[in-house]
């Protein structure tokens, strides 16, 4: 069966009324949980799994779950932009310029461009998935611990550049994030670190707790003391949809974000986060007006949002072609398939062609449903900002509490959420950009783990990083960036010094 026959038969499966209904349900639920802060796709899919037991065929169940997963990526940008609340790791970057845009009354433009970017990226990535899944899956496998180390190190460098003008402030926040990342059982030695005898700390902090606490709750605490100031933010709504100029300004960012997301998204574990970071750093580097980044640059929303959506589609590649689940949500879909008697992997396309092509076809349809669902919603979400802050803030706190509790079903996470909220408030007071913190929290353990795995593999020799072509390339780029940045900084400061001497 050729790819064309396959995808046509797939549409035959996906367009049946039952499967259309489930694709719609997935898109709807996904959008909803994406919008609700703290509720993630993995927890939702786990919750809905028992419902799928009564459906005899695996196809509608998987179509729905896939819809929830990529639908959550659409919805995830909403709270990041409106409330500075990143729903999942890949939306942290969106907060930086998205929330600034909302404060300037351009929430509608930010939401609109995020939805359009997500649609384009999602669709392009599914086209890539349709035609190139097997060779790309092989490429993904070539990323072992040394390659993942190199790419995570690169991600960390980019996370620091998010900090805005002050590199030293960025480094301080980064170190804080790295420290939080070390709490819990060290996977290499099996020893528990910094748990102070608290069992809940043995599993470490959860990303959602940190991101929602530092960003969302911290923002609310900060606004509480700004009598009146918060009102201004919440009543300025502005134009609902992006203007033609916004679109022209961000279309290349969307395209680049899509490519970055598609290729980095296939790397199991952390692909979506790193791709959104790489996209943001890329846009900032090649922009003609980099000073606008961090102040509400629309490319800073369009690029990363496209990247994380492309990544969510391409993360299906290792699952469908190799039987390897790359993240928690995909692992739930993997579980659902197995219980239904379908083993994802190289034989899926042969043994269960209806599942393979049906799910892929449904992703084209799901993306169309999501854009139809989300664009009109932009108008409604923007109205949310008209809700008086005294009502909005407690509701947001309530939802984040429910969301954080749902992660591991334990009350400890609620206290952690409040503690991180206080930290976020302090950072806000000290005028420090919190962006690098949750990102360093994710990347730190990845860097540490892959470094130690690589050294175990090589018997302690660092040559392993320089004898493998992919890691050598990425590490060379890393060194190049650091050196370039250093030269740039030195030149600027010496020019500044000269300028001061002449005056």
């Amino acid at each position: 069966m050729s790819v064309f026959d396959g995808i046509i038969s797939g549409f035959g499966v996906a367009l049946t009324p039952m499967n259309l209904l489930f694709a719609f349900l997935g898109a709807l639920i996904g959008t909803a949980i994406g919008v609700l802060p703290g509720l993630g796709p993995a927890a939702t899919i786990a919750l809905l799994l028992p419902i799928t037991y009564s459906i005899p065929s695996p196809v509608p169940a998987v179509i729905m779950m896939a819809g929830i997963y990529y639908g959550a990526m659409y919805g995830g940008s909403t709270t990041s932009i409106l409330l500075n609340l990143p729903g999942e790791a890949a939306s942290v970057v969106t907060c930086i310029d998205g929330y600034k845009m909302a404060q300037k009354g351009r929430a509608g433009a930010a939401l609109g461009i995020a939805a359009i970017g997500s649609f384009i990226a999602g669709t392009v990535a599914v086209v890539g998935l349709t035609f190139f899944a097997p060779p790309i899956a092989e490429f993904a496998l070539s990323f072992g611990p040394p390659e993942k180390f190199a790419i995570a190190l690169m991600g960390l460098l980019m996370a620091v550049t998010l900090a805005g003008e002050s590199i030293s402030k960025g480094l301080i926040i980064m170190v804080l994030g790295l420290l939080f990342g070390t709490v819990g059982i060290d996977p290499i030695s099996g020893k528990s670190r910094f748990d102070f005898g608290v069992i809940e700390l043995q599993s470490g902090f959860d990303f959602v707790t940190i991101a929602v606490g530092v960003f969302g709750i911290g923002e609310i605490f900060y606004n509480l003391e700004q009598e009146g100031a918060a009102e201004i933010v919440t009543t300025k709504v502005g134009q609902v949809f992006p203007k033609m100029a916004d679109w022209v300004q961000s279309r290349m960012a969307i395209l680049r974000g899509t490519l970055v997301g598609f290729f980095i998204g296939i790397i199991p574990g952390g692909g979506a986060v790193i791709s959104s970071l790489v996209s943001y750093a890329l846009e900032k580097k090649i922009s003609k007006h980099p000073q606008e980044f961090g102040q509400g640059a629309i490319e800073g929303v369009a690029g990363p949002e496209s990247a994380n959506n492309a990544a969510s589609s391409s993360s299906f590649i290792p699952l469908l072609t190799l039987g390897i689940p790359g993240n928690a949500s995909i692992a739930m879909i993997f579980a659902c398939l197995l219980i239904k008697g379908v083993t994802p992997g190289p034989f899926l396309i042969v043994e269960h062609a209806d599942v393979f092509w049906g799910v892929i076809a449904s992703m084209y349809i799901g993306n169309i449903m999501l854009i139809i669902l989300n664009l009109p919603l932009v108008g409604i979400w923007v109205q949310l900002l008209r809700v008086p802050y005294s009502i909005l803030a407690p509701v947001v706190v309530l939802f984040t509490m429910i969301g954080s509790y749902s992660i591991a079903n334990q009350a400890f996470d609620l206290y952690a959420l409040i503690a991180f909220g206080i930290l976020g408030y302090l950072l806000r007071k000290l005028k420090m950009e919190a962006g690098p913190l949750p990102l360093a929290f994710i990347l730190g353990p990845m860097i540490e783990g892959t470094l130690r795995q690589s050294l175990l593999m090589s018997g302690g020799s660092f040559s392993i990083f320089f004898t493998r072509p992919i890691s050598l390339t990425i590490l060379s780029l890393f060194v190049l960036f650091v050196v370039a940045q250093a030269i740039f900084t030195i030149r600027r400061s010496s020019r500044y010094a000269r300028a001061q001497q002449t005056t």
């Binding site: 799994l49 496998l141 069992i199 574990g269 190799l322 039987g323 197995l338 079903n409």
Partner: protein, 326 residues
């Protein structure tokens, strides 16, 4: 006549008993859904087992199971939650016999006594440890691997799911028994460890059948050995380590159900009987075969005895191998 009166008396008595029995069964266990705590993340092998049981359970019980994942601390967080729950049979622990029950207590202090604070209900499955290598590897048996390591005098690298987990212990024990140096590289779970071997980043790897069989079928992995005392029914053609002259076996990863220690005997008996029915169900057998998880049911008493032995054997192995996590 007398006989008839007597007869009607019996009928009345039986009817009365039946009615009161029916009324009584309102409060009879179970009268509400039963929470099943899985102390690992959703999507892992224990979670898959729990969700398969969840699917079949309503056929044999008026109340459903509700699966709650409470991951953390290598399983300790969720297990402790069950230990501290009301012992009424409505909070169960699925995964009893995992690494934090049979291995961890030998290595570190636990916040509860795994064997005194929990009552064994049923054993459902045992996941063996399968030692595999990449399809392109020159090793076709454990003997090849040992010969290579001795001839080249180089260490063998192996991916394992977690430090001091069932797979790590089995492979470390193999290296020690064969007199070769095997470096185990721990990953964040079975899927990660399998991915590293699939990419050819390590020489060998180990995993539970559910994790490696799809790759064996796909021709990506070659199985080398099973580290159980006997062959795994999911892989009948793969010899054990003992068959290949390496006198090492482990108990794999045991997956059973436990309830808080004070749970009433009749409630445990009801649960055990229902789990037995689930294990004998044809649909359950199909699902488990597809998951490559063998059904190895044991009743409460036998399971408790089995666990004691597995716990003691792991203790011996850990002492011999001098495994510590400090």
């Amino acid at each position: 006549m007398k006989k008839m009166v007597f007869g009607s008396f019996w009928i009345a008595l039986v009817t009365a008993l039946m009615v009161s029995g029916a009324a009584f069964s309102q409060d009879k266990f179970p009268s509400k859904p039963i929470n099943v705590i899985v102390p690992f993340s959703a999507g892992g092998s224990t979670d898959l087992l729990a969700r398969s049981v969840e699917k079949i359970w309503p056929k044999y019980s008026p109340q459903p199971l509700v699966i709650i994942n409470k991951p953390g601390g290598g399983g300790v967080v969720g297990t402790e939650f069950v230990v501290r729950s009301k012992p009424d049979g409505y909070t169960l622990y699925l995964g009893y016999g995992s690494g934090h029950d049979v291995v961890m207590p030998h290595l570190q202090k636990m916040p509860y006594d795994t064997y005194k604070d929990l009552a064994a209900v049923s054993r459902l499955s045992v996941h063996s440890v399968v030692i595999v290598t990449g399809a392109k590897s020159e090793f076709n048996s454990i003997k090849d691997m040992v010969a290579w390591a001795k001839k080249e005098n180089k260490p063998i690298t192996s991916s394992v799911s977690t430090k001091a987990g069932a797979v790590d212990i089995a492979i470390t024990a193999l290296g020690k028994a064969a007199g070769i140096n095997i470096v185990t590289v721990p990953f964040a779970g079975g899927a990660d460890a399998v991915t590293a071997l699939a990419g050819g980043h390590v020489m060998i790897g180990g995993g539970h059948p559910s994790e490696v069989i799809p790759h064996i079928k796909a021709g990506r992995f070659k199985p080398l050995a099973v580290a159980l005392p006997e062959r795994d029914p999911a892989l009948p053609n793969v010899p054990t380590l003992i068959e290949q002259g390496i006198n090492v076996h482990t108990w794999g990863s045991i997956k059973g159900v436990a309830a808080p220690a004070e749970t009433p005997k009749e409630v445990v008996a009801y649960l055990d009987a229902t789990f037995k029915k689930v294990c004998e169900d044809a649909e359950f057998k199909t699902i488990m075969a597809n998951l490559s998880q063998p059904i190895m049911y044991l009743n409460s008493a036998d399971f408790a005895k089995f666990l004691q032995q597995a716990y003691a054997d792991y203790g011996k192995l850990i002492k011999e191998l001098n495994i510590t996590i400090q």
